[in-house]
């Protein structure tokens, strides 16, 4: 293994960061479309108005969703035990998310093919579910990560999950779900306000301002609540270059332990600060009509919120509530040294290209969307 130019520890850290980049990428990019879907029945009231929203995100939403697909693939490739535990443990929650996500591509594509009012209204609600449900449940899942998931691992690395779907709906987890929903609705509202005109833009501004304010309050509340939760702390010595074995470590539960990283690494405070500042900027700019600044503020808010969650539980990915030793960390849930390196090469090569062509597509599709502009394109939704 001496031929690999980066050591195992460095690669694990890089992949922990990259996973954050991909998940934040999805929350910001996919959050646009999930947010617009969630707001669809409320911000847009007539068929024309709804078509404006669908065609606003229609050309780019498929690409944005690939951040999620890639995030899933990267967890599988770089942290297989994490992929195995989280996806099988939260099984029914994942099924609910998937069923909701399935409605999106068909909703966009099928809705406009028939002009019947009931047909279109049905797909409007399908698109609402496709935006609302994943936004909420993904946050609930993150809340459960902070609470610790009820799973254990045996010596063959087989996973046993002992919770059920309804146990996921703990008060703190629901709060986390609302934070997630709030930030995604804010994002969707800034996108709508930025590229539409008239009553739709006005309504989106109102929704965005309120969603931004509510998210700020809920995020602060979650921060206070976390101080009362048990955090997990690794008490044995970690060898960051050792082969993976989650059961080799010992873990203690410490009340308020999820906040200890901010004392150890004060720079991590930047994450919650960016979260609050970003959302505040979004709210103020929405009021003042600064469209681009609002979108940037809202995106920064998402960046801050997701980063805060990830940094708080560092070095954990997924703590276990029933067998704390089995909790997965970036040191004991990664792929092999060689796989992490190969995947880093592939990512370093392709990710910049992806960012470039995504930028190009957004540039081609730039400009306001109005109901007049839709008539020109027979492919419009």
């Amino acid at each position: 293994m001496s031929s690999i130019p980066l050591d195992y520890e460095t690669l694990r850290l890089i992949w922990w960061l990259l996973l954050g980049v991909l998940l934040i990428g999805f929350a910001i990019m996919g959050g646009r479309d999930l947010g617009v879907g969630t707001l669809l029945p409320f911000v847009a009231r007539t068929d024309d108005e709804r078509r404006v929203l669908l065609n606003l995100v229609g050309p780019t939403w498929e690409g944005n969703q690939v951040w999620l697909v890639l995030g899933g693939g990267a967890i599988f490739a770089a942290f297989p035990p994490l992929y195995a535990v989280s996806f099988s443990g939260f099984y029914l929650a994942m099924i609910v998310i998937l069923l909701a996500l399935i409605l999106r591509p068909v909703g966009f594509k099928f809705r406009g093919k028939v002009s019947d009012t009931r047909w279109r209204a049905t797909w409007d609600w399908a698109l609402f579910i496709g935006g609302f449900v994943p936004s909420l449940i993904m946050g609930v899942a993150v809340g459960n990560v902070l609470l610790g998931a009820p799973f254990h691992i045996d010596d063959t690395m087989r996973i046993f999950y002992t919770g059920n779907f309804f146990q996921l709906l703990m008060p703190f987890a629901l709060l986390a779900g609302l934070v997630s929903l709030g930030m995604i609705v804010t994002q969707g509202a800034t996108v709508i306000a930025g590229r539409t005109e008239g009553p739709i833009a006005a309504r989106a501004r109102t929704y965005g301002i309120w969603a931004g304010l509510v998210t700020i309050v809920l995020f602060a509340l979650a921060g206070v609540w976390v101080a009362a939760l048990n955090g997990h702390v690794v008490t044995s010595v970690i060898d960051p270059n050792a082969p993976i074995n989650p059961l080799a470590k010992t873990v203690d539960l410490v009340p308020g332990g999820w906040l200890s990283n901010y004392a150890t690494y004060p720079w991590m405070m930047a994450a919650p600060i960016i979260a609050f500042a970003g959302l505040l900027v979004a709210v103020i700019s929405l009021r003042g009509g600064l469209k681009l600044v609002a979108l940037l503020g809202s995106s920064a808010g998402i960046f801050g919120i997701v980063s805060t969650a990830g940094l708080s539980i560092y070095p954990f990915f997924l703590p276990s509530s029933t067998m704390p030793n089995a909790g997965l960390t970036l040191w004991d849930a990664s792929s092999s040294h060689l796989t992490l390196f190969i995947m880093l090469l592939a990512t370093a090569f392709f990710l910049p290209i992806i960012v470039l062509y995504t930028g190009f597509v957004f540039r081609v599709m730039r400009g306001p969307v109005t109901s007049d502009s839709l008539g020109k394109n027979p492919n419009a939704y």
Binding site: G73, S88, T156, M157, L338, T339, V364, P378, N379
Partner: protein, 532 residues
Amino acid sequence: MIDMLVVDLSRWQFAATAMYHFIFVPLTLGLSFMMAIMESVYVMTGRDIWRKATLFWGTLFGVNFAMGVATGIVMEFQFGMNWSYYSHYVGDVFGAPLAIEGLMAFFLEATFVGLFFFGWDRMSKVGHLVVTWLVAFGANFSALWILIANGWMQNPVGAKFNPDTMRMEITDFMAVIFNSVAQAKFVHTVSAGYVCGAIFVLSISALFLVKGKHVEMAKRSAVVAASFGLAAALSVVVLGDESGYVATEHQKMKVAAIEASFHTEPAPAPWTIIAFPGADGETAWSISVPWLGGLITTRSLDEELEGINELVDRAQDRIRSGMIAYEALQEIRADGTNTEARLVFEEHWQDLGYGLLLKRYRVDVENATPEEIAMAAEDTVPDVWPLFWTFRIMMGLGFFFIAFFGLWFYRASRGWIDTNKPLLWVTVFLLPTPWIAIESGWFIAEFGRQPWVVEGVLPTFYAASSLTALDLILSLSFFVLLYTVLLIIMVILMVRIVKAGPKEKLFTHTDDEDDFVITTLPVTPATKELGS
């Protein structure tokens, strides 16, 4: 102990969701290239009829693509959800091609597919053509990485079991990429997709011709489909043969089951056209062509094709060796410094998977009885008769497609496209046949690999998640219900799109300076039909 009901339901769910997904994928693979070809002709000749054709097939492509995306995201998540031990056990190897698929292929396809639909009046002709080709290449690269991942499940090269982490780990990534099985399967699978797209275009064009509607567009589409289809049909059979040949090297049992060859035949083995089982499950009655079997599978007249019963005997030996590997592994897990056990494991690790077959019968596999070993060895035989018959359906259709496209190609080159009504009607009704061949192909590939999820490495029953039967009953029924409803809606929409036909005057490109009047059109032809 392992809950076999959960395993079976997990298999049903994976099979159902994968086979649904693969209704849409082959059409995407084939249609995207044909659209790119048609649009290229449009850009080169400037004739509007080709743009009309591209847009018409593009509308059908879009509806199909939406279903592909909807069912595709489930596939990526399902490994972790339903096959969590698999995900841990081989994720180090199998996850990489899946992630690279996202990086290299699906991102490209999904990002540009939006521009394909929405970029017509925002880009130059050439610019839009490049977008269409990028969508087609994205779809095909996607198939490449998925087939590399699947090829590794059929022939797990370039990886080794690590007793310290309890999983398979990559040793040689190039071997995983250039796996002979993966390469043959990739070309075989995408070619099958091209055949599917070609039949789709040909069949709908034939319907237009028979009805005398949109004749100009239908004729041109038929010519493209006939030539593209002929090349693809040849490729699918040649590479299918290559797949069979490499399977003979790496998956002897699968080949023996497909051929229903229960006993080793003296070389060169015959090829059985049809056969029927007797009371003991073995062949009672058959029609065979002498020598052909040996030629297809071994490409020689003197190499033997081993029979199922002989392979079962060999499996017994490997199970015994696997028991030694398993015992050594237990010792290494108990004491990582036990170098003696590591040496033993090194000697026998390749048979560890065979040892795991015994997990179905007892936890402490190292103490298995001869009866249990015999039962586990019998388990290595997949169900022969479904494989035997689906293989013959697939192969028969494959050869039929060559003849069929050959006929169409010949007639098209003579200019006899819309002259033979019976042929046109036959062509219309052939629409479902590529899907029958393609789904049969996946059935053979996956069902024929049983009892393994990764050939020789990990038994399927040992790979499932620790879920409850209720979890699976819920998820399986939701998926089947939702997919079926959506599939029906998709078919209805496609019929409406075909009935409405292509649009007449279409958008302008940014470089069409002489033609800047943009015609306002209704949202879709379907809307126009309704008149509301």
